[in-house]
Amino acid sequence: MILLLLKILVFPGILFLVVLSMIGEYFDRKVYAKMQNRMGPPWFQPVADFIKLLAKELIIPKNADRKIFKALPLVACSSVIIAYLYIPLWRKESIMSFNGDIIFVLYMLTIPTLTYSLAGWYSRSQYALIGSMRVLTQLFSYEVPLFMAVLAPTILASSWSFTEVINFYNAGGSLWLVNFIAFAVAIVTLQGKLEKVPFDIPEAETEIVAGSFTEYTGPLFAYFRLAMNMQTIAGASLVAAVFLPFGYGSFFIFNFIIYIIKVTFIIFLLAVIRTIFARLRTDQMLSFCWKYLAPIALVQILINVIIKAAVLK
């Protein structure tokens, strides 16, 4: 019992996730800067930003709903943490699991997005209102391709449980390479989920200041930022667990390093995407997700169904 609590609270639970999210943010910003031929921040910058924001004055707009306004960042943080507890990291089992936890994790990762939208809604500011509506519009455009992409590999494994999917692909040799198309779709939609260029429409600085977060200051904004960074790690871990199911040997250190490399690689891919594109418009994002991403994800599902019917049987 105490061991489980320690696992949840310290390693590989909450504390580990927070530390990893800071490192992830640093890596993302540094690579982004390097690709733009800049210096980038020093290693302690994410921590410094977090502490600075915590120390800042908390201002809540007069018209905002105080209770919900304060509660939303914590809801966002906790839902990401819960999702993270169910994702297997360097072992085939996660801290907590049940049959069908992939679906559960996907839904837990949707909750932060909803809180961003609600945050904008309850701020009662025009910019935040527009941002809130854009968050929802964006959610509707990327969520379906993301679900289809993540669930495509599970068709082959005939299971919605992380452990069984990983076991299946480990036994199947290099069968996981089949899911490459879905992996690409998942990376692109993850970019949308994390609201980064080219899908940073809800936060488009030059249009609606900071979108839903316009009225958020100080500690509350710090928790939203933390939630966003943890979401990056959780999303990367999810994609790593489903699409890169290898490196689950018997040595802990070895497995741990492979996990870190996987997450770093995915964050690197996200950083590259955010470097080389311009921001899309809402309508362009919608048509891109539904015209291109969803059919591509469907193709993957089709391939997997054919493989399952023709080869595996």
């Binding site: 031929n37 470097t275 080389i276 594109f277």
Partner: protein, 116 residues
């Protein structure tokens, strides 16, 4: 005209291995070439007190005061100076000239009025 997705990819990836273009200013100083319009220098001996620089200064930043017979003193208000070096052109006797000195910021306002 062929459309491409991610046209800048090659450039950004190659930038990963390049030295950043950022100049780490206070630690590494830029080389300033000799024509730079920095703080004005004053050569006492050459000044005849014609006050042309004072008359022409667009920012009213320079003042010449007489301290004794044929001896003058220049006061420069760095907070007003716009570094146009009009005074240098106006001086027919070569008593004012440009220097490369540009790091003139200070936290103390009283230090901004300097005797040249």
């Amino acid at each position: 005209m062929s459309k491409k997705l991610g046209k800048m990819l090659a450039e950004t990836i190659s930038s990963l291995f390049k030295k950043p273009a950022t100049s780490s200013y206070p630690f590494k100083k830029r080389e300033i070439h000799k024509h730079y319009n920095g703080k004005v220098a004053y050569i006492k001996e050459k000044c005849v007190g014609c006050n042309m620089c004072v008359r022409n200064c667009p920012a009213k930043a320079i003042f010449i005061t007489k301290i004794a017979d044929k001896q003058f003193e220049a006061t420069l208000h760095l907070d007003r100076c716009i570094f146009c070096s009009q005074c240098v052109i106006s001086c027919k006797f070569g008593a004012l000239k440009n220097t490369n000195e540009f790091e003139l910021a200070t936290g103390d306002k009283s230090k901004l009025v300097v005797k040249l």
